[in-house]
């Protein structure tokens, strides 16, 4: 294809071209500007509100579960609002408890954490950090958001249908999930499947968009190893989504057919293979685990480097570690299935591949510590959340290594030890990463600073209550308490653990209550916060070179990138940061000169002190 053809085809997508009818060129209606918007920043905010809503829903479901576990058989305060099919007189029914467990997991993973990390930060950061005017396919981006809304609506609607919402766990193991005979849930389980198929389509359109944008829409000079780590992590995550989600979609469709048209893919009565579902689910599910943590790692790397005023330790190693985690994530799914009757030989090989993942994870952890070492650490809210991410990720990662050994897993499988582990990586890891990201980029999104005092109070209370909730769960698990248990007191050996369960529940209520501080801070700051300057954190990456919030099309002039994203405290300049688009000293005005000093005999101008 000739250059002329390339240019003509690019023109169609290039929103900076004259004649592109969008905001800035003519006034858009309210609906096109805020509802059916194609602007990546608006879509990021839409995803933010949607997924924060689902975070509240997921938290409320968890709260109800904790009520049942902390105070079994006692009426839920205000539980009278529930119909008799869920909680007669406020006492949660076992069937409803199954739905709570299932929907808490499903909503938190697919509708809260995943859209928060990928939908919000993917949309916000990828074009801004690359120096692009928007995503490669803005309309596809809009479709991605509205598909997520449809999926979320279907998922919520399943609470209202007869039989209630899905109750076979977020993993929906066959044959439990194949028929309402076992769970008492018929339509709810089908809606669960349909909703996840739609959500998969949403994630997929997003992933195609992100990958194309990262490959093709970078500003001049933005070579692969100058891309900021959040964008790197989102790029790798998008590849995982692209390849993992279709596998799940295939499995979901087969499960739906088993329910609707009488096939027996997973039903042993018709020669189906229940284990096949587990293989399909976890072949998707383990890359999914890294979909849920990699973007948080990227966000935290950015915040740590910026708030410690030091270059990230081992930038290339950080990128390569993420790439290798993403690769290894495809060959470890069997470690979820040690107890499924799989061949023990296979279990050993899955153990080895799983333990190998500890190597890139440790590289990342030590590099974060190396970044902090002798840094000029600013303990502001995003930094506190990022530091908490690192420490909690270490705990969650180490408990993961215990369970990776089949011999240990025989004992720990499906106990509260697993619940503790997964919350240490998903809450302690992903959610603290999300809090770090929201507090760090809030000024860029809304043009106002978030309240720092309230932010710190929220952080410390969250950090304390979070550990009080989830750390004791390790103990419960080691003492043999099974997860997804409606009433542990039915087992005599678990009765002495009731006090600990009650303690966890009270901590959980306080943890949920603490989040109202965040909600208040969020909305108060959005309208009343201090006006944010373009670059409140003295950061290097391109999103901080444009006003807060950035105008439509992001960059008035396409930026040129001269260096990597983490040149903090560089000896070349006086200030302790060195933005990626600032021409090196000695370059001509306007950055039109060669972006890097020419090596060779010609003397390059020395940086002038006090430049």
């Amino acid at each position: 294809m000739s250059t002329a053809q390339l240019v003509s085809s690019l023109e169609k997508e290039d929103r900076t071209q004259p004649g592109y009818t969008d905001e800035g060129l003519h006034e858009l209606s309210f609906i096109r500007k805020y509802v059916f918007s194609t602007d990546h920043k608006t879509i990021a905010k839409q995803f933010l509100f949607l997924s924060l809503f689902f975070l509240v829903v997921g938290g409320a479901l968890a709260g109800m579960m904790r009520w049942q576990l902390g105070f079994p058989g006692q009426p839920l305060p205000g539980g009278g609002v529930f119909p008799d099919t869920m909680a007669p007189g406020g006492i949660i029914l076992p069937e409803f408890y199954n739905s709570l467990v299932t929907m808490h997991g499903t909503i938190m993973i697919f509708f809260a954490i995943m859209p928060l990390l990928v939908g919000v930060f993917g949309n916000l950061l990828i074009p801004l950090q690359l120096g692009a005017p928007d995503m490669a396919f803005p309309r596809l981006n809009m479709a991605s958001f509205w598909l997520a809304v449809v999926a979320g609506t279907v998922m919520m609607a399943s609470f209202l249908v007869e039989g209630g919402a899905a109750g076979a766990g977020w993993t929906s193991y066959a044959p439990l999930s194949t028929s309402g005979e076992w769970t008492g849930v018929y339509l709810g389980q089908q809606l669960w499947l349909v909703s996840l198929i739609i959500m998969g389509a949403s994630s997929l359109t997003g992933a195609v968009n992100y990958i194309t944008t990262v490959i093709n829409m970078r500003a001049p000079g933005m070579t692969w190893f100058r891309i900021p780590l959040p964008t790197w992590s989102l790029f790798i995550t998008a590849i995982l989504i692209l390849l993992a989600i279709p596998i799940l979609t295939g499995g979901l469709i087969m499960l739906l057919f088993d329910q609707l048209i009488g096939t027996t893919f997973f039903i042993p009565a018709g020669s189906g293979e229940p284990l096949l579902w587990q293989h399909i689910f976890w072949f998707f599910g383990h890359p999914e685990v890294y979909i849920l943590i990699l973007p948080a790692m990227g966000i935290v790397s950015e915040v740590l480097s910026c708030r410690a005023r030091k270059p990230i330790f081992g930038y290339h190693a950080m990128v390569l570690a993420m790439v290798s985690i993403a690769f290894l994530g495809w060959v470890v799914w069997g470690h979820h299935m040690f107890q499924s009757g799989m061949n023990p030989m296979l279990g050993t090989s899955f153990m080895i591949s799983t333990v190998v993942i500890a190597v890139p994870s440790a590289i990342k952890t030590f590099n974060w510590l190396g970044t902090l070492w002798r840094g000029d650490i600013h303990f502001d809210t995003p930094m506190l959340h990022a530091l908490s991410f690192v420490s909690m990720f270490i705990i969650g990662g180490l408990s993961g290594i215990f369970m990776a050994a089949p011999a240990v897993d025989i004992y720990l499988h499906d106990t509260y030890f697993i619940v503790a582990h997964l919350h240490y990586v998903l809450f302690g890891g992903s959610l603290f990463g999300i809090f770090a990201g929201i507090t760090f980029w809030f000024p860029k999104m809304f043009g106002r600073m978030m309240g720092e005092g309230l932010g710190k109070v929220h952080f410390w209370l969250t950090f304390i209550f979070y550990n009080l909730v989830f750390f004791p769960m390790h103990n419960l698990g080691i003492q043999g308490m099974m997860r997804r248990l409606y009433d542990p007191n039915e087992y005599e050996f678990l009765q002495p653990l009731q006090e600990m369960s009650t303690f966890i529940s009270i901590s959980a209520f306080l943890l949920v209550g603490t989040q109202s501080l965040f909600a208040f801070n969020f909305f108060w700051s959005m309208f009343r916060g201090r006006q944010a300057p373009a670059n409140p954190w003295n950061s290097n990456t391109l999103e901080w070179t444009v006003p807060s919030p950035p105008p439509h099309g992001n960059f008035a002039v396409m930026p040129t990138v001269y260096r990597g994203p983490y040149e903090y405290s560089s000896p070349e300049v006086d200030a302790d940061f060195y933005p990626q688009d600032r021409p090196p000293p000695g370059a001509g005005p306007g950055g039109q000169a060669a972006p890097e000093p020419t090596p060779g005999p010609a003397p390059t101008p020395e940086p002038v002190a006090g430049d």
């Binding site: 195609v208 490959i215 829409m217 390849l243 087969m254 096939t263 018709g270």
Partner: protein, 208 residues
């Protein structure tokens, strides 16, 4: 590093990145996810068939191999006509573009038509995906995997025919030139992919 300096001059020509326009790159990436989707279906088929070989019959006992061989030939021909349509617009030949697009649509539609005829006949003979209603030789896993894989492929062909019709509609309005033919190229990529999937499915479902 002079190329960066020239890139500043022409903001429409971002220097990093592949020298492929976004739509084409996006289609390639989307097709990767399609590969994984069909992998999940084909992988399940392989596992189920190895686990329960007694559900399957010898090839050709239930399925009409020769009819489908004709259908396979048709679909391969439609890939050829798609290439001809693409070659035509590369030369700026508007008439050729429309003609070959129309040929591709007609062949694609007849593939779906023949498949529909095949399905009707098989269901009439009792070869159904449904476990409870099973009457034919072989057993239900054979039927279930057969309809699952060929059905999703058929859906892809149908969507392809609809998209091709849209491209033809745009071609009638003169939307494509020898300078700009992105739409024809990316629907062509999709069409060849669907064709390729069929060759795999035909082999493993009908011949093996």
């Amino acid at each position: 590093m002079n190329h960066s300096a020239t890139a500043v001059m022409d903001p429409r020509h971002p220097m990093p990145g592949m020298q492929v326009y976004n739509l084409k790159l996006g289609m390639w990436i989307f097709l990767l996810s399609e590969v994984m989707f069909f992998t999940s279906l084909i992988g399940s088929y392989i596992i189920l068939r190895f686990a329960h070989p007694e559900h399957w019959t010898e090839p050709g006992v239930i399925l009409n191999v020769s009819l489908t061989a004709v259908n396979t030939f048709l679909l391969i021909c439609s890939s050829v006509t798609m290439v001809k349509a693409f070659a035509a617009i590369e030369q700026g030949d508007q008439k050729g573009l429309k003609l070959w697009l129309l040929a591709t649509i007609l062949i694609g539609a007849s593939f779906v038509g023949i498949q529909f005829f095949e399905y009707t006949k098989l269901i009439h003979e009792g070869f159904v995906p449904n476990f409870a209603a099973y009457t034919a030789e072989g057993a239900n896993l054979y039927g279930a995997t057969f309809y699952l894989m060929t059905g999703f492929h058929g859906a892809h062909v149908t969507i392809g025919v609809l998209c091709l019709s849209f491209v033809l509609f745009r071609a009638m309005k003169g939307a494509y030139t020898s300078e700009s033919y992105g739409g024809v190229e990316i629907i062509g990529l999709y069409w060849h992919f669907v064709d390729l999937v069929w060759i795999i499915l035909f082999t493993i479902v009908y011949l093996l």
